[in-house]
């Protein structure tokens, strides 16, 4: 039995680390059920358990078939969770994910034919590229990212937390195991993702859309870390997966409370949050600090390692500095509109400080855990990296602080000049019209085909002599 188990699963400290992070993320999202899931909490909880088992299978498996089964079970369980919002959303998510796993199925079979009967490091570049495309849909790599903002922003807050915090990472975790020496395709996709997601986040007015776009941007850093192919890059992306998982979970769960508090998703409608919800604001601040990479938070260490991994390449280093500025810009813009605007204004309206939603003990615990974990991860990154690699790093906190201060100056300057970049309230992105078009197109395709193939009965019967004739000619003359 033990032999069978080790045939299918690989138990090592890296996988333990990922599994632990995934469990923490799921635990945090379950803690926030009260504010966001009103009905059928028991069923929701059971679905979460199925989800936990299946993502553990994905993380630990070494056999392609088992990996794929776990992968599809993650899809099914997260689809079931989306049912708590609407059936349409769940259907769209399922179709998108099924599309992704169909590509993955093909790629997995090709990899098996190429001689990789297990999930191990892959040498051939073409196969690596194919695998990146296969995993791309689930991880929302650039080109396959179209579904992420609509679905992550429409989902209930705990589900968004799971999807954005952990499910999209599963593909990247798999890439981490498959791609040893770097891959330029992944590097390019990563850079594109950072800027695409960052610019979209800068322009979003809806808080959850902003977070979803920022997810795309942050996933880009992980992709770059894997694509760089250096030891530092790899370690950096491992830390980044943990850091972004925790931070984004905290932010998405927080968005649930924020929306309950203000009754709106537009960041311009958030009023007096700092006064009303102190703990929530602190957790949001901590989350964004980790995303930006402020020293002492785990995000800083991760970002530092990813950057360090690319040190040799001047072009990418410059791009990464620009990306750091972009992250500051969209974070500061949100923090201004969402939390601090009323504090900074001179004339204040003090009469509406009543809380609409009061955090209970579980909520407070959850938010405090997020803050503590983000800080603890930052302070004990050495412990985390020592689990995987022997190397000891110096993170140069002071220089990082200086760098960030420069960023703050530049971004405050830019944002003030742009009037804190107030965009129009745009609609929540949705895949409805896309899927309507696809449905209609497929239906018409079937109808046209039907009109073409189905003729009167006598013509249908004419196929028979034709068929016999072709076959006789074939076997007697053509093939000789």
């Amino acid at each position: 039995m033990a032999g069978l188990f080790s045939d299918f699963f690989r138990i090592d400290s890296l996988n333990h680390l990922f599994a632990a992070t995934g469990l923490v993320v799921t635990f945090l999202s379950i803690l926030s059920i009260r504010a966001n899931i009103e009905q059928r909490r028991l069923e929701y909880f059971l679905t979460n358990i199925v989800y936990i088992i299946s993502f553990l299978v994905v993380i630990y498996s070494r056999n392609w078939l088992v990996f794929f089964i776990g992968w599809e079970m993650v899809t099914v369980s997260t689809t079931l969770m989306l049912l708590w919002r609407s059936r349409g959303l769940a259907g769209q998510y399922f179709i998108v994910q099924f599309l992704g796993s169909s590509i993955l199925l093909y790629v997995v079979l090709v990899a098996q034919k190429a001689g990789y009967s297990e999930i191990i490091l892959i040498k051939e570049i073409w196969l690596q590229n194919l695998l990146i495309l296969g995993l791309g849909m689930k991880s929302a790599l650039f080109g396959f990212h179209f579904w992420l903002p609509p679905i992550h922003s429409q989902a209930p807050a705990p589900v968004s937390a799971i999807l954005s915090g952990w499910v999209v990472k599963l593909g990247l975790i798999t890439m981490l195991k498959l791609i040893p020496g770097g891959n330029s395709l992944l590097l390019i996709l990563g850079v594109l993702m950072i800027f695409y997601g960052g610019i979209r986040a800068l322009r979003s007015s809806d808080y959850k859309v902003l977070l979803a776009n920022s997810s795309i941007s942050q996933l880009g850093y992980i992709a770059i870390g894997i694509g760089s192919g250096t030891v530092y890059g790899h370690l950096g992306s491992i830390l980044y997966i943990i850091a972004h998982g925790l931070a984004k979970t905290g932010l998405f769960v927080g968005s649930g409370y924020l929306i309950r508090e203000t009754g709106s998703r537009s960041i311009y409608q958030f009023r007096e949050i700092w006064k009303k919800q102190r703990l929530l604001s602190v957790s949001i601040l901590a989350g964004f600090s980790s995303l930006i990479g402020i020293p002492l938070f785990i995000g800083y260490n991760a970002k530092y390692l990813v950057k360090y991994g690319l040190k040799g390449e001047l072009f990418f280093t410059i791009l990464l500095y620009a990306a750091g500025l972009l992250t500051w810009l969209y974070s500061l813009r949100f923090l201004y509109w969402g939390i601090f605007k009323d504090l900074l204004e001179k004339k204040r309206n003090m009469d509406s400080l009543k809380q609409n939603y009061s955090l209970d003990r579980a909520d407070r615990l959850l938010l405090s855990i997020v803050v503590v974990l983000l800080l603890m991860g930052g302070l004990s990154s050495g412990v985390l990296t020592s689990l995987i690699s022997e190397k000891v790093f110096e993170y140069h906190l002071i220089e990082g602080l200086m760098e960030n201060i420069i960023y703050v100056f530049i971004s405050v300057l830019l944002l003030k000049k742009a009037g804190w970049y107030k965009t129009k309230d745009n609609e929540v992105p949705s895949l409805d019209s896309l899927f309507n078009r696809i449905n209609k197109g497929l239906y018409n395709l079937g109808r046209n085909l039907y009109n073409w193939i189905y003729q009167d009965f006598q013509y249908q019967l004419l196929w028979l002599p034709l068929f016999l004739l072709i076959l006789f000619l074939w076997v007697n003359f053509i093939s000789g």
Partner: protein, 500 residues
């Protein structure tokens, strides 16, 4: 042991002739007798499988029974090897479920219905077990006649039309088959499969090719491959749902068995490979698969949709068998099992759900899910299994089929099949969303009268129980798919003639 094989055919035949007698004497015990017969058949198959399991694993299974004691060159021989064991077991399991389901479902003309159903079952077992080509032909004709009567069982315009079309195609197919049989006899001098296989090399090439073409066209007609698929959606949607399940789920697989038996074990597949016809078979059936899945997209009648999906899946199985590799045959046989179970489950569930709608049209499917939520969840499970979602059986067969295609470097075919599985997701989701769609009920503008289509639904409990049983069977056969691996691989070795 040999006699047991005979009983696999005799039990349904005897029951078929017993039912009219029982109807005259005491009608009420009819359902007891048919359930006992179905159960007895199932137990007999299981008994054969359990006692011969070790022999089946090594591929040494060969049980024979000489009818009347005549030697093989003169008389008819019944034989059971790995392949026939698999198919015979599948027929028994499927028919047992269908017969129990019919007890709850069919409420009129039950006597005739069961006579036809049991004759069909006996004929299918006969096809699977016989070792004689002419005997095979007789059973094929028996299948055509009984199933045509079952297609017309509803006695409405639609059913009669479908049955006429079905019988025209069936008779043409049977005729081609008969000509093939005659040519085999004149050239070989015997119709016993083993003897024909031994002497087949002596036949000249043109004659071999002619025979192969005749059998191939006959079987393509019977299996509903592209230029001859016209009868299939009509016939499979016009009849009562349990009959659709038999036709779509079980009967087509029996013809698939003839396909494998004749072309691999009697004439040898090398014939096709030599003349390049194997590519013709592969690409025609892939095209047929694409046609089936794409036409299912536009189908507003759920039973026709399922029938078109059957065309799609049959094309996929024939294509993968045509690859003539161990992996291909294994994938094909695995898909035979999963498609049989899943399509059967889908048809019986749809039969239940359609009792609550005025017509088969998708517009009437609105809100059906709220009639019986558990049954609808079973529908979703079976549909997703068909699409190929683990751990349901459809996934594993899809996996091995794609593996077989990629192993032989047919990447485009594999990609086509993947696209078709996505297409099938679309047409199933269309009905699933309809099922949960409450629009017409919510609006209240058009109060819907829900009328039972036939006054037959008097044993609802049996119907739902069979649905649950088959859904559980589907799930377990998916989770424990690896149990089929050894016997099927042994069967594949037997087909390809590989030792060890």
């Amino acid at each position: 042991m040999g006699l047991l094989i005979l009983f696999l055919i005799l039990i349904p035949l005897i029951t078929a002739f017993l039912i009219p007698l029982v109807d005259i004497i005491f009608k009420k015990i009819r359902k007891v007798i048919i359930s006992l017969a179905a159960l007895g058949e199932l137990l007999l198959s299981l008994q054969l499988m359990i006692t011969n399991y070790q022999a089946a694993l090594t591929g040494e299974l060969a049980i024979e029974y000489l009818l009347g004691g005549w030697s093989p060159s003169l008389g008819i021989i019944l034989q059971l090897d790995n392949l026939s064991l698999v198919f015979s077991l599948l027929v028994s399991i499927g028919m047992c479920l269908i017969i129990v389901y019919s007890i709850g479902f069919i409420g009129h003309h039950e006597g005739k219905y069961y006579v036809l159903l049991f004759l069909l079952m006996g004929a299918m077992q006969g096809v699977v077990l016989t070792g004689d080509i002419f005997n095979l032909y007789v059973f094929v004709e028996l299948i055509t006649i009984t199933s045509a009567a079952l297609v017309a069982f509803k006695r409405n315009r639609e059913g009669t039309e479908a049955a006429l079309k079905y019988i025209i195609y069936g008779v043409i197919g049977g005729l081609l088959f008969l000509i093939g049989v005659i040519l085999v006899y004149f050239n070989v001098g015997s119709l016993n499969m083993t003897i024909v296989a031994e002497r087949y090399n002596q036949v000249n090439t043109v004659m071999k090719a002619t025979i192969a073409v005749l059998f191939l066209s006959s079987l393509f007609i019977k299996m509903g491959v592209f230029p001859f698929h016209y009868w299939l959606p009509k016939a499979h949607s016009a009849c009562p749902s349990p009959v659709s399940a038999v036709l779509s789920g079980i009967l087509l697989k029996v013809f698939l068995y003839i396909f494998i038996r004749l072309f691999w074990q009697v004439s040898g597949y090398g014939l096709f490979v030599g003349s390049g016809l194997n590519y013709f078979i592969i690409y025609l059936s892939l095209f047929s698969s694409a046609i089936g899945h794409l036409l299912a997209l536009r189908e507003d009648d759920i039973k026709r949709m399922l029938a078109f999906s059957t065309v799609g899946h049959m094309g996929m199985i024939i294509a993968v068998l045509g690859l003539n590799t161990p992996a291909g045959l294994f994938g094909g046989l695995l898909h035979v099992i999963s498609h049989l179970l899943l399509k059967l489950t889908l048809f019986i569930i749809v039969g239940y759900l359609l009792q609550f709608t005025e017509s088969h049209h998708i517009a009437d499917f609105n809100g059906v899910a709220y009639r019986n939520r558990t049954v609808f969840i079973a529908f979703i499970i079976a549909a997703l299994g068909m699409v190929g979602l683990p751990p349901l059986p459809g996934f594993f067969s899809k996996y091995y089929i794609l593996q077989a295609f990629i192993e032989t470097d047919q990447h485009l075919s594999a990609i086509l099949l993947i696209i078709l599985s996505i297409v099938s997701l679309f047409y199933y989701l269309r009905y699933i969303f309809r099922g949960y769609n409450l629009l017409d009920y919510e609006k209240g503008t058009k109060p819907r009268k829900v009328r039972l289509v036939l006054s037959v639904f008097y044993r609802e409990r049996i119907v739902t129980d069979v649905i649950y049983a088959s859904t559980i069977l589907v799930i377990t056969s998916g989770v424990f798919y690896w149990l089929f691996k050894q016997p099927l691989l042994a069967a594949v070795r037997g087909i390809l003639g590989i030792q060890g």
